[in-house]
């Protein structure tokens, strides 16, 4: 096999890996997705109060188009695990997450949802929501201010817009 043909084949392989055919559509869809996360209105503890106040006129989450909190998980794109996840609530939270249609994302809001927070060694609390739900963005704080939540959602936007970068950060080269 001559060198030129081999190079062509390798290029085609690389192109197929990059999914060159659908990349335009994927980018377009991602553009739509990042500009309208509709969170499920699902609050667990005090962080939910901060989540609610981030939708208020003072912080105004709606500037980014994210203020449409949906009552039914079937119509939501984003789950904000806002607060302490107890062992009793964990199956319910997982079920609500499973009821959401793909593509879906989850944010762990507050120390309790990130790692169990002050209740990390309690027998009643799940130490970190990521043991039952795949979390995309962790927001520390007890509770995090509304600005932090908005910043976290914007970080999620960055993550969705740059899938290659996100994969590199997670898995290395």
């Amino acid at each position: 096999m001559d060198v030129k043909k081999e190079k062509e084949l390798r290029d085609a392989e690389a192109m197929a890996e990059k999914n060159i055919l659908l990349t335009g559509i994927e980018k377009f869809l991602n553009w739509g997705r990042v500009h309208s996360f509709w969170p499920a209105s699902f609050g667990l503890a005090c962080c939910a109060i901060e989540m609610a106040s981030s939708g208020n006129p003072r912080y105004d989450l709606s500037r980014f188009g994210y203020e449409v909190f949906q009552a039914s998980p079937r119509q939501a794109d984003l789950m904000i695990v806002a607060g302490t996840l107890t062992r009793k609530m964990a199956p319910v939270a997982r079920r609500i997450y499973d009821q959401m249609p793909e593509p879906k994302w989850a944010i762990a809001m507050g120390n309790c949802a990130c790692s169990g927070g002050p209740f990390a060694d309690s027998y009643a609390v799940v130490p970190g929501a990521d043991s039952i739900i795949p979390i995309d963005v962790y927001i520390p704080g007890c509770p995090p201010r509304p600005e932090s939540l908005i910043f976290g959602m914007l970080q999620l936007k960055q993550k969705i817009q740059n899938p290659t970068k996100a994969r590199l950060i997670k898995y290395g080269k």
Binding site: L29, G32, H35, P103
Partner: protein
């Protein structure tokens, strides 16, 4: 101005002129297909745009900026929402009645689209010039109740079923004052044809002759389109999202499309029956006046939506049967007396 006024009528005539016989079957078919496509586009674009206008209006009411990151002042937000909805997973839960589950949103959109067929957007600009126009509007729009119940029943979910039953109770109750409020206008004009009703308002819009009927129509119309303060069928606190609970992605989008399409249709009928349709000061073409008046009524409905809180379900039913219906009957009675006196005067004076 005359050319601008008759712009669409002339275009239709030009298309008809392409055929050998301008009233043959194929010419009619072509015009009908074009009218259907245009009406469909009007409904879809108006519904998408209204979803953003509503959010903007909500933010204006609560004194904040609203969506302002995408495009100039956030006016491209609805495109992102629509694109996102196109890319969502379409879930059909395991235990639903699959045929009716998939049928319900399509039926609701179809019913809404059928209402648009009789709306006269300008002089001669009506897709189907029915003699029974307003009768057709009522017959078709009451079918949307069936679609709601279908969605609620087929979802196999207690919240959906409760929402569907609420929809039936509410929409059937409010249909009666809605219908009775328009009888006064029909008594004056002696016709069911929407274009003829608008032509009867050349001197004075009926909102001045029938102010009570207009208010009753507006209230009952808001209840018919299931918007706050009458949105019990999707009250988040009690029944998750009413009949729409199990719908995801584009199917739920169809429900939203139908809701906003219904808002436009109800406003268009309000403009036709009460606000003088395409008549207005001569510096704008008639069809533009019609559209501007529709927007006026829509803004009124949004204003009411973002001002009042949700009513309790029993208060809602009491309001329909004990207040609106008697008032509508009083309006019919007064209109009858008015017409009688008017005819007596005409006979005496010799008009």
């Amino acid at each position: 101005m005359d050319a601008l006024n008759n712009l669409f009528v002339n275009i239709a005539a030009a298309i008809r002129g392409l055929f050998a016989d301008s009233h043959s079957f194929s010419a009619d078919l072509t015009i009908n297909i074009i009218a259907f496509i245009i009406l469909f586009l009007i409904m879809v674009v108006a519904a998408l745009f209204l979803s953003l206008v509503e959010r903007k209006f909500a933010h204006w009411v609560s004194q904040r900026s609203g969506p302002n990151r995408l495009g100039p002042h956030g006016w491209f937000q609805f495109i992102a929402d629509a694109v996102k909805m196109l890319g969502k997973e379409d879930i059909t839960p395991a235990n639903v009645d699959k045929f009716f589950f998939k049928m319900a949103p399509m039926m609701l959109v179809g019913v809404t689209l059928m209402v648009f067929g009789v709306i006269p957007f300008g002089k001669g600009m009506v897709a189907i010039d029915l003699d029974l126009g307003i009768f057709y509007f009522f017959a078709i729009s009451s079918l949307s109740t069936l679609a709601m119940l279908m969605a609620g029943w087929a979802s196999n979910n207690k919240y959906s079923l409760l929402g569907g039953l609420r929809a039936v109770a509410q929409m059937i109750s409010y249909e009666i004052p809605l219908l009775f409020s328009l009888l006064g206008v029909i008594m004056i004009t002696q016709t069911f044809n929407l274009s003829a009703i608008i032509e009867a308002q050349e001197t004075i819009p009926f909102v001045f002759l029938q102010p009570l009927a207009f208010i009753i129509y507006l209230i009952a119309g808001i209840a018919e389109t299931n918007r706050a303060p009458f949105d019990q069928i999707q009250g988040e606190q009690e029944i998750v999202a009413g009949p729409f609970t199990e719908y995801s992605g584009l199917r739920w989008g169809l429900f939203m499309l139908a809701e906003y399409g219904n808002v436009v249709a109800t406003s268009a009928i309000a403009v036709t029956m009460f606000l003088g349709g395409w008549y207005g000061p001569g510096f704008l073409p008639g069809w533009l006046w019609f559209i501007l008046k529709i927007w006026l009524v829509i803004f009124l409905m949004m204003w009411i939506r973002w001002t009042f809180v949700r009513m309790r379900i029993d208060h809602l039913m009491h309001f329909a049967w004990k207040i609106l219906l008697p008032l509508a009957l009083v309006n019919i009675f007064l209109t009858g007396i008015g017409i009688y006196v008017y005819e007596l005067l005409i006979a005496r004076i010799g008009g």
